[in-house]
Symmetry: C2
Subunit: 145 residues, 2 copies
Amino acid sequence: MRELGRIHHVAVVVRSIEDSLVFYRDLLRLELEAVADVPSDRVRIAFLGVGESKVELVEPTDDTTGVARFLESRGEGFHHVCLEVDNLAESLLRLEIDGVELIDTAPRRGAEGPVAFIHPRSAHGVLVELIEAQGGPSWKSLGYS
Amino acid sequence: MRELGRIHHVAVVVRSIEDSLVFYRDLLRLELEAVADVPSDRVRIAFLGVGESKVELVEPTDDTTGVARFLESRGEGFHHVCLEVDNLAESLLRLEIDGVELIDTAPRRGAEGPVAFIHPRSAHGVLVELIEAQGGPSWKSLGYS
């Protein structure tokens, strides 16, 4: 059973998208694909493409969110890795039965599709996000067009 | 100019490869490709495949290395991300001219090909490794067959 498709993205928390594009776009030469405000999450994000994956830069837009507290306490750096799965609800159910600590026990709307987070306590210190591949069953149920 | 090919791997420092395979192989269902001792680096590593990328688990085998000190001070978790480039020596030269702080200013032998590290100070808190795509010019000069 193919279940995990690819690394969808690696997310980096930064103080300023604009400043961090100097390294990630201009010097490292990743291809900037999009910059967007995500008001519901109180962040601004940039996606830069590399092969079948992306690097996501995340800038908090106020100081109330978990990402803002992360930046305050730990500084800029790696935040999470996102892996693509075929059927997110099924994967979450199986992981929960297997005793994995989930932050989201059901798919929820993310900027790029249905997502859910696994707690770093279950993943050897790494915050792992799962995203459902485009067209999977949660896309319809969560109202993506 | 295509310069960056893909995310080659995301590396996670763990206390025990064996223990962490329970999550990464058995529960997350990444495909275990190889487990190897790297005596020169005093680590044991496992590579698990996901699409065109890998997750690398790194277990220190003694307490003298940077990876061991990382584990001691910060616990298990994300260690670095590795990006593939076509010509590593050229990329390093260009990055150095552009003022990027390099840990390795020239390609050196890694377990999977010629590699070099960029300091997290230049990469917004992320330790970035570059690896040269198979068959690139440094493969011959570093004596890979």
